[in-house]
Symmetry: C2
Subunit: 323 residues, 2 copies
Protein backbone atom coordinates (compact mmCIF):
# COMPACT_ATOMS: atom_id res chain seq x y z
CA UNK A 1 0.00 0.00 0.00
CA UNK A 2 1.48 3.40 -0.92
CA UNK A 3 2.31 5.56 2.05
CA UNK A 4 0.44 8.83 2.44
CA UNK A 5 2.16 12.05 1.41
CA UNK A 6 2.16 13.19 5.04
CA UNK A 7 3.95 10.00 6.14
CA UNK A 8 6.59 10.43 3.40
CA UNK A 9 7.14 14.06 4.37
CA UNK A 10 7.46 13.18 8.05
CA UNK A 11 9.97 10.47 7.24
CA UNK A 12 12.14 12.95 5.35
CA UNK A 13 11.76 15.60 8.09
CA UNK A 14 12.94 13.02 10.64
CA UNK A 15 15.93 12.09 8.50
CA UNK A 16 17.26 15.67 8.44
CA UNK A 17 20.16 16.68 10.71
CA UNK A 18 18.16 18.09 13.64
CA UNK A 19 16.39 16.65 16.68
CA UNK A 20 13.03 15.15 15.72
CA UNK A 21 10.33 17.80 15.50
CA UNK A 22 12.68 20.59 16.53
CA UNK A 23 11.58 23.00 13.81
CA UNK A 24 8.13 23.11 15.43
CA UNK A 25 5.51 25.00 13.43
CA UNK A 26 7.85 25.18 10.43
CA UNK A 27 7.66 21.39 10.15
CA UNK A 28 3.87 21.51 10.42
CA UNK A 29 3.78 24.02 7.55
CA UNK A 30 5.78 21.65 5.35
CA UNK A 31 3.54 18.66 6.07
CA UNK A 32 0.44 20.79 5.52
CA UNK A 33 1.62 22.28 2.22
CA UNK A 34 2.85 18.97 0.79
CA UNK A 35 -0.43 17.33 1.76
CA UNK A 36 -2.37 20.05 -0.07
CA UNK A 37 -0.14 19.64 -3.13
CA UNK A 38 -0.34 15.84 -2.97
CA UNK A 39 3.43 15.80 -3.50
CA UNK A 40 6.11 14.81 -0.96
CA UNK A 41 8.68 17.08 -2.69
CA UNK A 42 6.87 19.95 -4.37
CA UNK A 43 8.84 22.68 -6.12
CA UNK A 44 9.20 26.03 -4.37
CA UNK A 45 5.80 27.68 -4.75
CA UNK A 46 4.95 30.26 -7.39
CA UNK A 47 3.19 32.74 -5.12
CA UNK A 48 0.25 35.01 -5.88
CA UNK A 49 -1.76 37.47 -3.78
CA UNK A 50 -5.31 38.50 -4.57
CA UNK A 51 -6.59 41.58 -2.77
CA UNK A 52 -10.34 42.09 -3.15
CA UNK A 53 -11.57 45.68 -2.72
CA UNK A 54 -15.14 46.86 -2.26
CA UNK A 55 -17.30 49.62 -0.83
CA UNK A 56 -20.11 49.43 1.68
CA UNK A 57 -23.27 51.48 2.00
CA UNK A 58 -23.33 50.86 5.73
CA UNK A 59 -20.47 53.36 6.12
CA UNK A 60 -23.18 56.08 6.09
CA UNK A 61 -24.05 54.84 9.59
CA UNK A 62 -20.64 55.87 10.91
CA UNK A 63 -19.28 52.36 11.62
CA UNK A 64 -15.70 53.02 10.54
CA UNK A 65 -12.85 55.18 11.79
CA UNK A 66 -12.04 56.18 8.19
CA UNK A 67 -14.25 57.84 5.54
CA UNK A 68 -15.51 55.71 2.66
CA UNK A 69 -13.36 57.58 0.12
CA UNK A 70 -10.35 55.82 1.65
CA UNK A 71 -11.27 52.61 -0.22
CA UNK A 72 -10.63 54.35 -3.55
CA UNK A 73 -7.60 56.19 -2.20
CA UNK A 74 -6.06 52.98 -0.89
CA UNK A 75 -6.75 51.26 -4.22
CA UNK A 76 -4.73 54.04 -5.85
CA UNK A 77 -2.03 53.46 -3.21
CA UNK A 78 -1.96 49.77 -4.25
CA UNK A 79 -1.49 50.81 -7.88
CA UNK A 80 1.30 53.16 -6.79
CA UNK A 81 3.07 50.44 -4.80
CA UNK A 82 3.00 52.27 -1.46
CA UNK A 83 0.74 50.07 0.68
CA UNK A 84 1.88 47.45 3.18
CA UNK A 85 0.83 44.63 0.87
CA UNK A 86 2.93 46.05 -1.98
CA UNK A 87 6.04 46.13 0.23
CA UNK A 88 5.41 42.61 1.53
CA UNK A 89 4.79 41.19 -1.95
CA UNK A 90 7.99 42.77 -3.30
CA UNK A 91 9.95 41.49 -0.29
CA UNK A 92 8.65 37.93 -0.56
CA UNK A 93 8.49 37.76 -4.38
CA UNK A 94 4.70 37.42 -4.45
CA UNK A 95 2.81 38.42 -7.60
CA UNK A 96 0.06 40.80 -6.37
CA UNK A 97 -3.31 41.38 -8.06
CA UNK A 98 -5.82 43.98 -6.92
CA UNK A 99 -9.39 43.08 -7.69
CA UNK A 100 -11.97 45.86 -8.03
CA UNK A 101 -15.25 44.59 -6.55
CA UNK A 102 -17.17 47.81 -7.01
CA UNK A 103 -14.97 50.52 -5.57
CA UNK A 104 -17.04 53.71 -5.53
CA UNK A 105 -20.22 51.69 -6.17
CA UNK A 106 -21.08 50.74 -2.59
CA UNK A 107 -23.45 47.94 -1.75
CA UNK A 108 -26.74 49.07 -0.28
CA UNK A 109 -26.88 49.93 3.42
CA UNK A 110 -27.57 46.59 5.11
CA UNK A 111 -29.32 48.19 8.06
CA UNK A 112 -32.05 49.49 5.69
CA UNK A 113 -32.27 46.91 2.90
CA UNK A 114 -30.40 43.84 1.61
CA UNK A 115 -26.80 44.76 0.74
CA UNK A 116 -26.97 42.92 -2.58
CA UNK A 117 -29.60 41.26 -4.75
CA UNK A 118 -29.47 37.49 -5.11
CA UNK A 119 -28.38 37.97 -8.74
CA UNK A 120 -25.51 40.31 -7.80
CA UNK A 121 -24.36 37.86 -5.16
CA UNK A 122 -24.43 34.87 -7.49
CA UNK A 123 -22.65 36.85 -10.19
CA UNK A 124 -19.84 37.94 -7.84
CA UNK A 125 -19.33 34.36 -6.73
CA UNK A 126 -19.34 32.92 -10.26
CA UNK A 127 -16.91 35.55 -11.55
CA UNK A 128 -14.32 34.86 -8.85
CA UNK A 129 -14.76 31.10 -9.02
CA UNK A 130 -13.41 31.43 -12.55
CA UNK A 131 -10.61 33.72 -11.37
CA UNK A 132 -9.52 31.05 -8.85
CA UNK A 133 -9.42 28.36 -11.50
CA UNK A 134 -7.23 30.60 -13.65
CA UNK A 135 -5.04 31.38 -10.62
CA UNK A 136 -4.55 27.65 -10.07
CA UNK A 137 -2.90 27.43 -13.52
CA UNK A 138 -0.42 30.18 -12.72
CA UNK A 139 0.33 29.82 -9.01
CA UNK A 140 1.03 27.06 -6.51
CA UNK A 141 -0.06 29.11 -3.50
CA UNK A 142 -2.29 32.17 -3.45
CA UNK A 143 -2.86 34.58 -0.59
CA UNK A 144 -6.28 36.15 -0.20
CA UNK A 145 -6.64 39.63 1.25
CA UNK A 146 -9.17 42.45 1.21
CA UNK A 147 -9.62 46.14 1.65
CA UNK A 148 -12.92 47.98 1.99
CA UNK A 149 -13.81 50.72 4.45
CA UNK A 150 -16.60 49.43 6.69
CA UNK A 151 -16.24 45.74 5.85
CA UNK A 152 -15.76 44.43 9.39
CA UNK A 153 -19.45 45.33 9.92
CA UNK A 154 -20.85 42.91 7.30
CA UNK A 155 -18.21 40.35 8.28
CA UNK A 156 -19.27 40.42 11.94
CA UNK A 157 -22.95 40.28 10.91
CA UNK A 158 -22.31 37.16 8.80
CA UNK A 159 -20.30 35.49 11.56
CA UNK A 160 -23.07 36.25 14.08
CA UNK A 161 -25.72 34.66 11.88
CA UNK A 162 -23.78 31.50 11.02
CA UNK A 163 -22.38 30.93 14.51
CA UNK A 164 -25.47 32.05 16.41
CA UNK A 165 -23.44 34.55 18.40
CA UNK A 166 -24.54 38.03 19.46
CA UNK A 167 -22.77 40.90 17.61
CA UNK A 168 -21.10 41.91 20.88
CA UNK A 169 -19.03 38.73 20.48
CA UNK A 170 -18.24 39.07 16.79
CA UNK A 171 -17.75 42.80 16.21
CA UNK A 172 -14.41 44.43 16.94
CA UNK A 173 -12.70 47.79 16.58
CA UNK A 174 -11.84 47.32 12.89
CA UNK A 175 -9.41 50.02 11.83
CA UNK A 176 -9.64 51.60 15.28
CA UNK A 177 -13.05 52.43 16.76
CA UNK A 178 -13.28 53.86 20.26
CA UNK A 179 -15.65 52.33 22.84
CA UNK A 180 -18.57 54.55 21.93
CA UNK A 181 -18.33 53.81 18.21
CA UNK A 182 -17.88 50.09 18.85
CA UNK A 183 -21.16 50.03 20.79
CA UNK A 184 -22.80 51.91 17.90
CA UNK A 185 -21.43 49.36 15.41
CA UNK A 186 -22.79 46.49 17.52
CA UNK A 187 -26.22 48.16 17.65
CA UNK A 188 -26.19 48.60 13.86
CA UNK A 189 -25.42 44.90 13.34
CA UNK A 190 -28.15 43.89 15.81
CA UNK A 191 -30.63 46.08 13.94
CA UNK A 192 -29.61 44.63 10.56
CA UNK A 193 -30.03 41.06 11.77
CA UNK A 194 -33.43 41.94 13.30
CA UNK A 195 -34.48 43.50 9.98
CA UNK A 196 -33.46 40.64 7.68
CA UNK A 197 -34.14 37.67 10.00
CA UNK A 198 -31.62 35.67 7.93
CA UNK A 199 -31.80 31.89 7.80
CA UNK A 200 -28.33 30.37 8.33
CA UNK A 201 -29.43 27.30 6.39
CA UNK A 202 -29.50 29.45 3.22
CA UNK A 203 -25.97 30.88 3.06
CA UNK A 204 -26.44 32.61 -0.32
CA UNK A 205 -29.41 34.57 1.04
CA UNK A 206 -27.51 35.50 4.22
CA UNK A 207 -24.57 36.69 2.11
CA UNK A 208 -26.88 38.80 -0.10
CA UNK A 209 -28.63 40.44 2.86
CA UNK A 210 -25.58 41.14 5.06
CA UNK A 211 -22.46 40.73 2.93
CA UNK A 212 -20.53 42.84 0.50
CA UNK A 213 -19.15 42.44 -3.00
CA UNK A 214 -15.55 41.71 -1.97
CA UNK A 215 -16.82 39.23 0.64
CA UNK A 216 -18.88 37.47 -2.03
CA UNK A 217 -15.90 37.58 -4.41
CA UNK A 218 -13.59 35.94 -1.85
CA UNK A 219 -16.28 33.33 -1.15
CA UNK A 220 -16.33 32.56 -4.87
CA UNK A 221 -12.53 32.47 -5.07
CA UNK A 222 -12.32 30.01 -2.16
CA UNK A 223 -15.04 27.81 -3.70
CA UNK A 224 -13.33 27.94 -7.10
CA UNK A 225 -9.91 27.08 -5.69
CA UNK A 226 -11.25 24.07 -3.80
CA UNK A 227 -10.20 20.80 -5.39
CA UNK A 228 -7.83 22.51 -7.88
CA UNK A 229 -4.65 21.84 -5.88
CA UNK A 230 -4.00 25.56 -5.39
CA UNK A 231 -2.99 26.21 -1.77
CA UNK A 232 -5.09 29.11 -0.52
CA UNK A 233 -3.54 31.21 2.24
CA UNK A 234 -6.18 33.13 4.16
CA UNK A 235 -5.54 36.41 5.90
CA UNK A 236 -7.63 37.93 8.69
CA UNK A 237 -11.16 38.26 10.04
CA UNK A 238 -12.96 39.36 6.87
CA UNK A 239 -11.25 36.78 4.65
CA UNK A 240 -12.08 34.09 7.19
CA UNK A 241 -15.70 35.23 7.18
CA UNK A 242 -15.72 34.54 3.44
CA UNK A 243 -14.22 31.13 4.23
CA UNK A 244 -17.08 30.56 6.67
CA UNK A 245 -19.67 31.41 4.00
CA UNK A 246 -17.90 29.18 1.48
CA UNK A 247 -17.76 26.37 4.05
CA UNK A 248 -21.53 26.67 4.61
CA UNK A 249 -22.01 26.33 0.84
CA UNK A 250 -19.46 23.48 0.38
CA UNK A 251 -18.19 21.82 3.59
CA UNK A 252 -15.22 20.29 1.74
CA UNK A 253 -13.94 23.55 0.28
CA UNK A 254 -11.35 24.34 2.97
CA UNK A 255 -9.21 21.22 2.41
CA UNK A 256 -6.62 23.33 0.59
CA UNK A 257 -6.79 26.33 2.96
CA UNK A 258 -3.96 27.54 5.17
CA UNK A 259 -5.05 29.84 7.98
CA UNK A 260 -2.09 32.16 8.33
CA UNK A 261 -2.43 34.24 11.47
CA UNK A 262 -4.80 35.06 14.27
CA UNK A 263 -5.24 38.81 14.08
CA UNK A 264 -5.95 41.32 16.83
CA UNK A 265 -9.52 41.90 15.54
CA UNK A 266 -11.83 40.73 18.34
CA UNK A 267 -13.83 38.11 16.49
CA UNK A 268 -11.00 36.44 14.59
CA UNK A 269 -9.83 33.96 17.22
CA UNK A 270 -13.44 33.00 17.90
CA UNK A 271 -14.05 32.54 14.16
CA UNK A 272 -10.99 30.27 13.81
CA UNK A 273 -12.32 28.22 16.75
CA UNK A 274 -15.73 28.03 15.10
CA UNK A 275 -14.10 26.71 11.91
CA UNK A 276 -12.09 24.22 14.00
CA UNK A 277 -8.75 25.44 12.65
CA UNK A 278 -5.51 26.78 14.12
CA UNK A 279 -3.56 29.69 12.71
CA UNK A 280 0.22 29.47 12.36
CA UNK A 281 1.15 32.67 14.14
CA UNK A 282 -0.17 35.70 15.97
CA UNK A 283 1.79 38.93 15.69
CA UNK A 284 -1.09 41.15 16.80
CA UNK A 285 -1.57 42.33 13.20
CA UNK A 286 -4.94 43.81 12.12
CA UNK A 287 -4.16 45.57 8.87
CA UNK A 288 -5.91 43.43 6.28
CA UNK A 289 -4.86 43.70 2.59
CA UNK A 290 -3.53 40.13 2.83
CA UNK A 291 -0.65 41.30 5.02
CA UNK A 292 -0.76 38.29 7.36
CA UNK A 293 -1.12 35.92 4.40
CA UNK A 294 1.99 37.48 2.82
CA UNK A 295 4.03 36.93 5.99
CA UNK A 296 2.73 33.35 6.01
CA UNK A 297 3.89 32.82 2.40
CA UNK A 298 7.31 34.09 3.47
CA UNK A 299 7.44 31.65 6.39
CA UNK A 300 6.28 28.83 4.11
CA UNK A 301 9.20 29.54 1.78
CA UNK A 302 11.54 29.39 4.79
CA UNK A 303 10.07 26.08 5.92
CA UNK A 304 10.21 24.55 2.44
CA UNK A 305 13.81 25.63 1.90
CA UNK A 306 14.80 23.91 5.16
CA UNK A 307 12.93 20.80 4.05
CA UNK A 308 14.52 20.78 0.60
CA UNK A 309 18.08 21.83 1.42
CA UNK A 310 19.01 20.40 4.81
CA UNK A 311 21.34 17.39 4.76
CA UNK A 312 20.12 14.06 6.10
CA UNK A 313 21.95 12.23 8.92
CA UNK A 314 23.20 9.79 6.29
CA UNK A 315 24.41 12.43 3.82
CA UNK A 316 26.22 14.42 6.52
CA UNK A 317 27.52 11.30 8.32
CA UNK A 318 26.02 12.47 11.60
CA UNK A 319 25.18 9.82 14.19
CA UNK A 320 21.54 9.37 15.12
CA UNK A 321 20.05 9.30 18.62
CA UNK A 322 21.46 6.83 21.14
CA UNK A 323 18.13 6.14 22.83
Amino acid sequence: MPRSVAAQVEQRLNSLTKPTGSLGRLEEMVVHYCRIKGNPMPPMPRKGMFVFCGDHGVTEEGVSAYPREVTRQMAANFEGGGAAINVLCRHYAIDARFVDCGIGRPTRNLVREPAMTPAETAESIALRRRMAREAAEKFDAAGIGEMGIGNTTPAAALFSVFAGLPPSQTAGRGSGLDNRMLLHKIAIIEKAIALHQPDAANPMAVLAALGGREIAAMTGFILGAAHTGLAVVLDGFIVCTSALVAWRIDPTCLNNAIFSHCSAETGHGRLLDHLGVTAYFGFGMRLGEGSGAAVMLGLLDTALRLYREMATFEEAKVAERVQ
Copy 2:
Protein backbone atom coordinates in the same frame (compact mmCIF):
# COMPACT_ATOMS: atom_id res chain seq x y z
CA MET B 1 14.40 69.41 23.44
CA PRO B 2 15.17 66.76 20.79
CA ARG B 3 12.60 64.00 20.59
CA SER B 4 13.70 60.46 21.43
CA VAL B 5 14.40 58.04 18.59
CA ALA B 6 11.43 55.92 19.69
CA ALA B 7 9.09 58.93 19.48
CA GLN B 8 10.37 59.80 15.99
CA VAL B 9 9.93 56.21 14.83
CA GLU B 10 6.42 56.02 16.25
CA GLN B 11 5.50 59.27 14.53
CA ARG B 12 6.61 57.87 11.16
CA LEU B 13 4.87 54.52 11.79
CA ASN B 14 1.64 56.42 12.52
CA SER B 15 2.02 58.48 9.33
CA LEU B 16 2.11 55.35 7.12
CA THR B 17 -1.00 54.26 5.19
CA LYS B 18 -2.41 51.76 7.66
CA PRO B 19 -4.53 51.90 10.82
CA THR B 20 -2.43 52.99 13.81
CA GLY B 21 -0.55 50.07 15.33
CA SER B 22 -2.02 47.57 12.87
CA LEU B 23 1.31 45.88 12.08
CA GLY B 24 1.44 44.67 15.69
CA ARG B 25 4.73 43.00 16.65
CA LEU B 26 6.33 44.12 13.36
CA GLU B 27 5.98 47.74 14.51
CA GLU B 28 7.48 46.87 17.90
CA MET B 29 10.48 45.32 16.15
CA VAL B 30 11.07 48.55 14.20
CA VAL B 31 10.91 50.74 17.30
CA HIS B 32 13.17 48.33 19.18
CA TYR B 33 15.79 48.08 16.43
CA CYS B 34 15.89 51.83 15.73
CA ARG B 35 16.21 52.51 19.46
CA ILE B 36 19.19 50.14 19.64
CA LYS B 37 20.79 51.80 16.63
CA GLY B 38 20.05 55.30 17.96
CA ASN B 39 18.80 56.17 14.47
CA PRO B 40 15.19 56.85 13.41
CA MET B 41 15.93 55.67 9.84
CA PRO B 42 18.76 53.12 9.94
CA PRO B 43 19.90 51.41 6.74
CA MET B 44 18.79 47.83 6.13
CA PRO B 45 20.95 45.75 8.50
CA ARG B 46 24.12 43.96 7.46
CA LYS B 47 23.38 40.66 9.17
CA GLY B 48 25.78 38.21 10.79
CA MET B 49 25.28 34.93 12.66
CA PHE B 50 27.78 33.56 15.17
CA VAL B 51 27.33 29.92 16.10
CA PHE B 52 29.46 28.88 19.09
CA CYS B 53 30.28 25.18 19.31
CA GLY B 54 31.71 23.28 22.26
CA ASP B 55 31.94 19.89 23.93
CA HIS B 56 30.98 18.86 27.43
CA GLY B 57 32.52 16.28 29.74
CA VAL B 58 29.15 15.78 31.43
CA THR B 59 27.98 13.82 28.38
CA GLU B 60 29.72 10.80 29.95
CA GLU B 61 26.83 10.79 32.45
CA GLY B 62 24.32 10.06 29.68
CA VAL B 63 22.47 13.38 29.78
CA SER B 64 21.91 13.71 26.03
CA ALA B 65 19.90 11.83 23.42
CA TYR B 66 22.87 12.06 21.01
CA PRO B 67 26.49 10.86 21.43
CA ARG B 68 29.19 13.49 22.00
CA GLU B 69 30.78 12.82 18.58
CA VAL B 70 27.76 14.58 17.06
CA THR B 71 29.23 17.97 18.04
CA ARG B 72 32.16 17.40 15.68
CA GLN B 73 29.94 15.83 13.03
CA MET B 74 27.52 18.75 13.13
CA ALA B 75 30.43 21.20 12.92
CA ALA B 76 31.43 19.40 9.71
CA ASN B 77 27.81 19.69 8.55
CA PHE B 78 28.02 23.45 9.15
CA GLU B 79 31.17 23.61 7.02
CA GLY B 80 29.39 21.59 4.34
CA GLY B 81 26.36 23.89 4.34
CA GLY B 82 23.79 21.21 5.19
CA ALA B 83 22.56 22.24 8.62
CA ALA B 84 19.38 24.19 9.36
CA ILE B 85 21.35 27.32 10.18
CA ASN B 86 23.15 27.18 6.81
CA VAL B 87 19.85 27.04 4.95
CA LEU B 88 18.36 29.85 7.01
CA CYS B 89 21.40 32.08 6.60
CA ARG B 90 21.42 31.55 2.83
CA HIS B 91 17.69 32.24 2.65
CA TYR B 92 17.86 35.44 4.70
CA ALA B 93 21.24 36.67 3.40
CA ILE B 94 22.95 36.34 6.77
CA ASP B 95 26.74 35.96 6.90
CA ALA B 96 27.33 32.87 9.11
CA ARG B 97 30.44 32.21 11.24
CA PHE B 98 31.05 28.99 13.12
CA VAL B 99 33.18 29.43 16.21
CA ASP B 100 35.14 26.46 17.53
CA CYS B 101 35.09 26.65 21.33
CA GLY B 102 36.95 23.40 21.94
CA ILE B 103 35.18 20.83 19.77
CA GLY B 104 36.68 17.44 20.71
CA ARG B 105 38.31 18.98 23.81
CA PRO B 106 35.39 18.68 26.22
CA THR B 107 35.21 20.65 29.43
CA ARG B 108 35.63 18.59 32.57
CA ASN B 109 32.61 16.70 33.89
CA LEU B 110 30.84 19.22 36.13
CA VAL B 111 29.35 16.56 38.35
CA ARG B 112 32.89 15.54 39.43
CA GLU B 113 34.96 18.74 39.25
CA PRO B 114 34.68 22.33 37.99
CA ALA B 115 33.99 22.33 34.25
CA MET B 116 36.62 25.00 33.62
CA THR B 117 39.39 26.72 35.54
CA PRO B 118 38.96 30.41 36.37
CA ALA B 119 41.74 31.17 33.86
CA GLU B 120 40.05 29.22 31.04
CA THR B 121 36.77 30.96 31.77
CA ALA B 122 38.29 34.43 31.77
CA GLU B 123 40.21 33.67 28.59
CA SER B 124 37.07 32.46 26.74
CA ILE B 125 35.23 35.59 27.75
CA ALA B 126 38.05 37.96 26.80
CA LEU B 127 38.58 36.29 23.41
CA ARG B 128 34.91 36.61 22.40
CA ARG B 129 34.58 40.12 23.80
CA ARG B 130 37.12 41.07 21.14
CA MET B 131 35.23 39.08 18.50
CA ALA B 132 32.06 41.05 19.30
CA ARG B 133 33.85 44.36 18.95
CA GLU B 134 35.15 43.26 15.53
CA ALA B 135 31.65 42.05 14.59
CA ALA B 136 30.28 45.49 15.44
CA GLU B 137 32.51 46.97 12.72
CA LYS B 138 31.20 44.61 10.08
CA PHE B 139 27.54 44.02 10.97
CA ASP B 140 24.54 46.02 12.14
CA ALA B 141 22.77 43.02 13.68
CA ALA B 142 24.29 39.72 14.77
CA GLY B 143 22.48 36.54 15.69
CA ILE B 144 23.96 34.33 18.40
CA GLY B 145 23.51 30.58 18.29
CA GLU B 146 25.20 27.49 19.69
CA MET B 147 25.70 23.82 19.20
CA GLY B 148 27.21 21.39 21.69
CA ILE B 149 25.94 17.97 22.64
CA GLY B 150 25.02 18.04 26.33
CA ASN B 151 24.92 21.81 26.72
CA THR B 152 21.38 22.11 28.07
CA THR B 153 22.74 20.46 31.27
CA PRO B 154 25.24 23.23 32.16
CA ALA B 155 22.71 25.83 30.96
CA ALA B 156 20.00 24.52 33.30
CA ALA B 157 22.54 24.31 36.15
CA LEU B 158 23.53 27.95 35.66
CA PHE B 159 19.91 29.10 35.45
CA SER B 160 19.11 27.16 38.65
CA VAL B 161 21.92 28.82 40.56
CA PHE B 162 21.23 32.38 39.42
CA ALA B 163 17.44 32.17 39.72
CA GLY B 164 17.38 30.01 42.86
CA LEU B 165 15.18 27.46 41.14
CA PRO B 166 15.38 23.68 41.53
CA PRO B 167 16.72 21.82 38.45
CA SER B 168 13.29 20.24 37.98
CA GLN B 169 12.11 23.71 36.91
CA THR B 170 15.06 24.59 34.69
CA ALA B 171 16.02 21.34 32.96
CA GLY B 172 14.17 20.17 29.85
CA ARG B 173 14.34 17.43 27.26
CA GLY B 174 17.08 19.08 25.20
CA SER B 175 17.40 17.28 21.90
CA GLY B 176 14.77 14.74 22.99
CA LEU B 177 15.17 12.94 26.33
CA ASP B 178 12.48 10.57 27.49
CA ASN B 179 11.01 10.84 31.01
CA ARG B 180 13.54 8.48 32.59
CA MET B 181 16.54 10.29 31.11
CA LEU B 182 15.10 13.69 32.02
CA LEU B 183 14.87 12.60 35.68
CA HIS B 184 18.47 11.37 35.45
CA LYS B 185 19.57 14.72 34.00
CA ILE B 186 17.82 16.61 36.82
CA ALA B 187 19.55 14.39 39.40
CA ILE B 188 22.96 15.07 37.77
CA ILE B 189 22.38 18.83 37.95
CA GLU B 190 21.27 18.60 41.59
CA LYS B 191 24.40 16.62 42.38
CA ALA B 192 26.65 19.14 40.59
CA ILE B 193 25.13 22.09 42.45
CA ALA B 194 25.48 20.22 45.77
CA LEU B 195 29.16 19.52 44.95
CA HIS B 196 30.18 23.05 43.98
CA GLN B 197 27.90 25.06 46.31
CA PRO B 198 28.22 27.97 43.87
CA ASP B 199 27.72 31.54 45.05
CA ALA B 200 25.41 33.43 42.68
CA ALA B 201 27.05 36.67 43.76
CA ASN B 202 30.24 35.55 41.96
CA PRO B 203 29.06 34.88 38.39
CA MET B 204 32.54 34.14 36.98
CA ALA B 205 33.04 31.38 39.57
CA VAL B 206 29.58 29.92 38.88
CA LEU B 207 30.31 29.92 35.15
CA ALA B 208 33.66 28.17 35.69
CA ALA B 209 32.16 25.47 37.90
CA LEU B 210 29.00 24.71 35.91
CA GLY B 211 29.39 26.25 32.46
CA GLY B 212 31.01 25.33 29.21
CA ARG B 213 33.36 26.96 26.75
CA GLU B 214 30.71 27.98 24.22
CA ILE B 215 28.55 29.32 27.05
CA ALA B 216 31.50 31.39 28.32
CA ALA B 217 32.25 32.49 24.75
CA MET B 218 28.68 33.71 24.20
CA THR B 219 28.80 35.49 27.57
CA GLY B 220 31.93 37.26 26.37
CA PHE B 221 30.38 38.09 23.01
CA ILE B 222 27.29 39.60 24.66
CA LEU B 223 29.47 41.63 27.06
CA GLY B 224 31.69 42.78 24.20
CA ALA B 225 28.76 43.80 22.00
CA ALA B 226 27.17 45.85 24.77
CA HIS B 227 27.49 49.59 24.18
CA THR B 228 28.92 49.11 20.64
CA GLY B 229 25.61 49.73 18.84
CA LEU B 230 25.57 46.20 17.41
CA ALA B 231 22.07 44.73 17.75
CA VAL B 232 22.45 41.26 19.24
CA VAL B 233 19.72 38.77 18.37
CA LEU B 234 19.57 35.95 20.90
CA ASP B 235 18.34 32.47 20.06
CA GLY B 236 17.15 29.85 22.55
CA PHE B 237 17.61 28.54 26.07
CA ILE B 238 21.39 28.11 26.08
CA VAL B 239 22.10 31.48 24.47
CA CYS B 240 19.75 33.12 26.95
CA THR B 241 21.62 31.41 29.79
CA SER B 242 24.76 33.13 28.54
CA ALA B 243 22.77 36.37 28.50
CA LEU B 244 21.83 35.70 32.13
CA VAL B 245 25.48 35.20 33.11
CA ALA B 246 26.48 38.35 31.20
CA TRP B 247 23.67 40.28 32.89
CA ARG B 248 24.93 39.18 36.31
CA ILE B 249 28.38 40.49 35.35
CA ASP B 250 27.10 43.74 33.76
CA PRO B 251 23.43 44.61 34.40
CA THR B 252 23.43 47.11 31.51
CA CYS B 253 24.73 44.69 28.88
CA LEU B 254 21.35 43.64 27.45
CA ASN B 255 20.31 47.12 26.26
CA ASN B 256 21.11 46.11 22.67
CA ALA B 257 19.67 42.58 22.90
CA ILE B 258 16.68 41.31 20.94
CA PHE B 259 15.13 38.14 22.34
CA SER B 260 13.91 36.38 19.23
CA HIS B 261 11.69 33.46 20.17
CA CYS B 262 10.46 31.45 23.11
CA SER B 263 11.51 27.90 22.33
CA ALA B 264 9.88 24.62 23.32
CA GLU B 265 12.73 23.83 25.77
CA THR B 266 11.11 23.71 29.23
CA GLY B 267 13.17 26.36 30.99
CA HIS B 268 13.24 28.97 28.25
CA GLY B 269 9.96 30.75 28.97
CA ARG B 270 10.82 30.84 32.66
CA LEU B 271 14.28 32.22 31.86
CA LEU B 272 12.80 34.99 29.70
CA ASP B 273 10.46 35.85 32.58
CA HIS B 274 13.40 35.90 34.97
CA LEU B 275 15.21 38.34 32.68
CA GLY B 276 12.03 40.43 32.45
CA VAL B 277 11.93 40.28 28.66
CA THR B 278 9.41 39.18 26.03
CA ALA B 279 10.29 37.17 22.93
CA TYR B 280 8.84 38.17 19.56
CA PHE B 281 7.46 34.80 18.53
CA GLY B 282 7.00 31.20 19.54
CA PHE B 283 6.95 28.60 16.79
CA GLY B 284 7.68 25.67 19.10
CA MET B 285 11.25 25.50 17.77
CA ARG B 286 13.98 23.83 19.86
CA LEU B 287 16.79 23.24 17.40
CA GLY B 288 19.46 25.68 18.53
CA GLU B 289 22.26 26.68 16.10
CA GLY B 290 20.80 30.20 16.05
CA SER B 291 17.79 28.99 14.04
CA GLY B 292 15.26 31.13 15.93
CA ALA B 293 17.58 34.15 15.76
CA ALA B 294 17.84 33.69 11.98
CA VAL B 295 14.04 33.66 11.60
CA MET B 296 13.97 36.80 13.77
CA LEU B 297 16.51 38.53 11.50
CA GLY B 298 14.27 37.65 8.56
CA LEU B 299 11.21 39.13 10.28
CA LEU B 300 13.22 42.22 11.23
CA ASP B 301 14.06 42.75 7.54
CA THR B 302 10.35 42.45 6.72
CA ALA B 303 9.42 44.97 9.41
CA LEU B 304 12.12 47.44 8.35
CA ARG B 305 11.17 47.23 4.69
CA LEU B 306 7.56 48.08 5.61
CA TYR B 307 8.82 51.00 7.69
CA ARG B 308 11.12 52.30 4.95
CA GLU B 309 8.98 51.70 1.87
CA MET B 310 5.34 52.26 2.79
CA ALA B 311 3.79 55.53 1.61
CA THR B 312 2.56 58.06 4.16
CA PHE B 313 -1.04 59.30 4.18
CA GLU B 314 0.25 62.58 2.76
CA GLU B 315 2.35 61.03 -0.01
CA ALA B 316 -0.47 58.72 -1.12
CA LYS B 317 -3.18 61.38 -0.63
CA VAL B 318 -5.16 59.04 1.61
CA ALA B 319 -7.53 60.65 4.13
CA GLU B 320 -6.77 60.14 7.81
CA ARG B 321 -9.17 58.95 10.52
CA VAL B 322 -12.42 60.79 10.95
CA GLN B 323 -12.54 60.37 14.73
